[in-house]
């Protein structure tokens, strides 16, 4: 007895499924979104249409999407890089805030003492550094004791959020703009900020994000460092025999992952925000990065595409909130649903599924 379904492991999955699963997931997720839209009295087609106009089909919408995708690629790479070694860095959100803190600090403190491009570089560097440092406690305890990095990195998100709020709302310190009554971050000098392309929200940092994705793709596939990561991920035992220092590799992978998310935060400082901005917390870029990475099945180049898609959902959701009365959260529902369906669809890629007729040994292939 039992469930009359049989899973047969596929040796390699058909090519068309690799594309079909994400596309079908997106369609299914839009259907789920439609149900909730209908239930709350919003017309789904019109809603999706204005969502598209706000994100992809207009010049303004698409450049906004690319601007957000720039940061999302970083947090996506952060989650994706850790996953190469079966590590789950759920702390991208907090590491992004720290990247903003580190970047804003470097921008304000060092910006005037260095020529333009060097100052930008330093800001990005300090952001990455801060993000990397933020993950050291989970990284060391994971490497040393095997403490679940999932929960530890996540708990630090709340700590980081409170830290940002303290810097801006709770104190009148370094990061707070002294000239305004309403609490907001102190701007970095203009020399530290990059110019956007024309009148768009897309910044040159997008090239850096894309380059990083390609570099990491190469690093994992071709470099010796990437090879060690793969060996340890596939078989810790074999890694031990090969003399790979597992704790040290765990530490470096997690710190690099944190630095990537931190870099995303610093990109916000040199680009759109120009300051430590607590408003970024509402976007959930760090969490979305995990979804993006999972949807791209941890392929760094696919992360670029998934980031553009998700950034579009987010940006489109924002414009919905302005042009219609549909809450922006519909975009988050669709994001979550895409991942849920993609996970479910994964089974078709991994297994051939047969329905077993009771009493017969021969199954019917589906």
């Amino acid at each position: 007895m039992g469930i009359p379904i049989k899973f047969e492991q596929r040796i390699d999955s058909p090519r068309w499924l690799i594309l079909a699963v994400p596309v079908a997931s997106l369609i299914a997720a839009l259907l789920v979104g439609s149900i909730f839209l209908l239930a709350t009295g919003h017309p789904p087609l019109d809603t999706f249409n204005s969502l598209l106009r706000g994100s992809f089909t207009t010049h303004r919408g698409f450049t906004n999407t690319l601007g957000l995708a720039t940061i999302l690629i970083c947090t996506g790479l952060a989650a994706g890089f850790a996953f190469q070694m079966n590590l789950y860095n759920i702390g991208g959100e907090g590491q992004l805030y720290l990247g903003m803190i580190g970047g804003a600090w470097a921008g304000i403190a060092l910006g005037d003492h260095f020529p333009g491009y060097l100052a930008v570089l330093l800001t990005l560097l300090f952001g990455a550094l801060a993000g990397g440092l933020w993950v050291t406690v989970p990284a060391i305890t994971k490497a040393r004791f095997g403490t679940s990095e999932i929960v530890s990195t996540l708990l630090l998100n709340y700590v980081a959020l409170n830290l940002v709020n303290y810097f801006i709302f709770g104190s009148k310190g370094f990061f707070r703009d002294p000239s305004t009554a309403f609490p907001q971050g102190r701007k970095v000098p203009d020399s530290v900020r990059l110019d956007a392309f024309g009148k768009t929200q897309t910044y040159p940092t997008i090239f850096l994000s894309v380059l990083l994705a390609v570099f990491l793709f190469w690093l994992i596939k071709k470099s010796e460092f990437g090879y060690r990561i793969k060996v340890l991920a596939d078989s810790p035992k074999a890694a031990g025999y090969a003399g790979i220092n597992a704790p040290r590799l765990t530490l470096s992978v997690l710190v690099i992952s944190g630095a990537l998310a931190g870099l995303g935060g610093a990109m916000l400082v040199v680009g759109p925000t120009g300051k430590l901005d607590p408003g970024v917390a509402g976007i959930g870029l760090g969490y979305a990065g995990i979804v993006v990475a999972a949807l791209a099945r941890y392929n760094f180049v696919a992360i670029i595409l998934a980031s553009v898609l998700f950034a579009g959902l987010r940006v489109g959701g924002d414009s919905l909130q302005i042009s219609t009365d549909v809450p922006i959260h519909i975009a988050v529902i669709i994001q979550g649903a895409v991942l849920i369906f993609a996970l479910g669809g994964e089974v078709f890629r991994k297994y051939r599924i047969r329905i077993v007729r009771p009493g017969s040994a021969v199954g019917v292939a589906v």
């Binding site: 996540l154 303290y166 709770g170 999972a294 979550g336």
Partner: protein, 312 residues
Amino acid sequence: MNNNIWLLTFADSISIATTLILASLGALLTERSGVINLGVEGVLLMGVASTFLVSDGTGNPWLALVIGTCVGALLAMVHAVLCVVLRANQIVSGLALVIFCTGLANFLAKPIEGKPKRVQLNAIDFGPLSDIPIIGPLIFGHDLITYVTWLIVISASAYMFRTRPGLTLRAVGDDPATVDSQGLPVAAIRFGYTMAGGALMGLAGGWFMLARSAAWQQQATTNGIGWIALALVVFAAWRPLRLVFGAVLFGFTLQLPFTLQAEQIKVIPAAILPMIPYLVTLAALIAMSTPRARAVLGAPKALGQPFVRDER
């Protein structure tokens, strides 16, 4: 220093522990069956949102709690379908659930944003018992669900360690192959406990809304309590009764910032105050994973691994 305020703080810690006990008991049951559900924070939030919506619409707190519980079970079913039936990655599935639930809760609860709640659960009137010094406010100052929760956690412990189905539950998380060879349906058992766990998480959210929360404030309503509940399961070494102790302790860390602020006690810098619950949880999590602690702990051995009979 005012004694009264500390007594109130302890009473509040015991009260807020109700949510932590229910949510982490849900996670504990799920994990004991070998499935890890990281979606707690999301399911909790949906429990809060659906309970608020129903209680706002009907004015009936009990109906609202029932709906909140069912919503929790249904959402956990999504996780069960993905992880138990389709053998998806349990970690990613749990995270997907958090994101989906956060979006859904914020979407559905949009109309009630900023609205005061219509009904709330009040403490049971124990008459003179509540006037007993110290014990009165600590033990006899709670609402019905808090006492039901105590009953649930004691029964859960008895069930797990004293009954046959409880033995099966533990076995299915430790050694599913053996359970399978006894002719018991591993997948169905895991599916059931994952849903039961979700129901408890939904109830946890519902109670939190009706008893502790003032209004709906998007994801800040639960503010990471679900994640603390997950860490609590490790802290309690997957044993329900230890959960109670841990929940009161973590409940205290959640309550402490408010008390220190209200009393203007400045032993801890204002910047760190709201971080206390998360930092304490992190410290506890690390302490529980040191080799010495690990020896006495006992995570279910097949936790997070799908059971596949064919590949044995």
